[in-house]
């Protein structure tokens, strides 16, 4: 071999090494192991938008480097996943929010440097059964959905917002193809019924309101829902419990068998909400009202208890009432997931649950 040829080959090898692909997995614990939970994937079966916020603590290895692809790995489960395809767009940006402060409005999480890095069809591979949950699943082609970017995105630090919008392709749905997800189990959340409701909703017990007690996480949004007539209005009232039920007649409201279970002298807030009609063909309820209460990410809120009861302004009825307890820990995942329908302006946020992502960078 001529010396100049040897030099050329060496130079090529060096160049190749310099632009070699590296990867980082968020969270790092998922690099070689399957984690506790799973998440569906945008477009695998339904139209879905998923904004995944990834804190800088997971991404230091690729600071200043161009991200060229992301991958989702199937969750471990002793069942085969069927193949499919979906149309997907992916936009990356530097979010103005840390994961713990994830906005439920999609627009609020997108940074000014938003760049669409992919738009096209992604494939879900036929994936053979693996071991049971939390047994390792390799990052091999049969286990991953790979999204190769058309345009790299240079990660300059901060919270990375990975914004996925997926649409199923009729006849090509993968359906139950679940990606691995990290989940922190948050202790201390609870909800206890303290009184029955009245009116036509909620069955024989008139239990027409609820709190999602896993939403009672400091730094998250407590989620309260009530069933009622489409486009009617209700008040969600927050305060302390009454020593004994108070007939609504005591307030001049002539609705028999309806009781207030909150102490009128200990009402902290009342929030009005409209019942939004349900459109799902199998829905049994005509409409739901929802109130979200931001819970501060501060230790002073650990274990705080409040009671809630809804008052239906259309029917002059009261819901069941319950006392709820805020959890006693703040998520440390440093990731968040905001997901929902692509046509909506906002989604549902979890700061204790997010899909595992593998970033490939140069």
């Amino acid at each position: 071999m001529q010396p100049s040829s040897a030099f050329t080959i060496s130079l090529l090898a060096l160049t190749t090494a310099l632009v070699a692909q590296s990867s980082v997995v968020a969270p790092a614990a998922a690099t070689n192991d399957d984690l506790l939970s799973y998440e569906w994937v945008a477009g695998a079966s339904q139209p879905l938008r998923q904004q995944i916020l990834v804190g800088q603590s997971h991404l230091l290895a690729m600071l200043g480097r161009p991200i060229t692809a992301i991958e989702l790995r199937r969750t471990a489960a002793p069942e085969a996943y069927l193949p499919g395809n979906a149309n997907l767009t992916v936009t990356l940006s530097t979010s103005p929010n840390a994961p713990l402060g994830c906005d439920n409005h999609y627009a609020g999480n997108v940074g000014p440097d938003a760049t669409q890095v992919f738009a096209g069809t992604v494939s879900f591979p036929a994936s053979p059964a693996t071991g049971v949950r939390m047994t390792p699943v390799p990052w091999s082609p049969a286990n991953i959905v790979r999204i190769q970017f058309a345009q790299p995105f240079v990660y300059l630090g901060g919270t990375l917002c990975v914004d996925l919008t997926g649409q199923p392709i009729p006849g090509q749905e993968a359906n139950w193809w679940m990606a691995d997800a990290a989940e922190e189990v948050m202790p201390g959340t609870a909800a206890v019924e303290i009184g029955a409701g009245c009116g036509p909703y909620g069955g024989p017990q008139h239990a027409w309101s609820e709190v999602a007690h896993r939403s009672l996480v400091p730094g998250g949004r407590a989620q309260f829902r009530a069933k009622g007539p489409a486009n009617g209005m209700a008040l969600a009232v927050f305060g302390g419990p009454a020593p004994s039920p108070i007939p609504l007649g005591a307030f001049g409201i002539a609705t028999p068998n309806c009781f207030c279970h909150l102490d009128p002298g200990a009402i902290f807030a009342a929030v009005a909400a409209v019942y939004v009609p349900e459109t799902h063909p199998l829905a049994l309820v005509s409409a739901h009202a929802e109130v979200l209460v931001p819970l501060p990410a501060d230790v002073s809120w650990f274990g705080v208890q409040l009671s809630t009861q809804w008052f239906d302004l259309t029917q002059l009825t009261t819901s069941n009432a319950f006392t709820w307890t805020i959890g006693n820990a703040i998520p440390t995942l440093d990731m968040a997931l905001n997901e929902g329908h692509p046509g909506d302006a906002k989604g549902w946020v979890t700061t204790y649950l997010a899909p595992v992502l593998r970033f490939e960078f140069q």
Partner: protein, 105 residues
């Protein structure tokens, strides 16, 4: 006019054999025993699952378990009762149907 129960029975028949509902984002078996329980797999990040009786309208909401596979108790209701299992509301509502089968005498 078709009753809600008839409509749900028809939907259950269309869904086919267990496990149903993979395309809906949640799934479980199609039939259950009164007083028993069923495992519900939850794809989205919703934090609760609701089981409702199509006849009475009674419903119970249960937190999604850590790891998202959630055991849901089936109420002691007569055989033939149709139940819905749902997550989310509005555009994010995902609903599947389970029929309660009375145990053989």
């Amino acid at each position: 006019m078709t009753s809600a129960t008839d409509r749900l029975r028809e939907a259950r028949a269309i869904d086919g054999s267990a496990p149903q509902g993979g395309g809906e984002g949640i799934r479980t078996v199609t039939v259950a025993s009164p007083g028993g329980s069923v495992m519900v797999n939850v794809g989205p990040n919703e934090s609760s699952v609701t089981i409702a009786n199509a006849t009475t309208g009674a419903s119970v909401t249960i937190p999604v378990a850590p790891g998202k596979d959630t055991q849901i108790p089936i109420p002691n209701v007569p055989g033939g009762t149709v139940l819905t299992i749902s997550i989310g509301v509005g555009t994010t509502a995902r609903i599947i149907v389970v029929q309660v089968i009375a145990p053989s005498p």
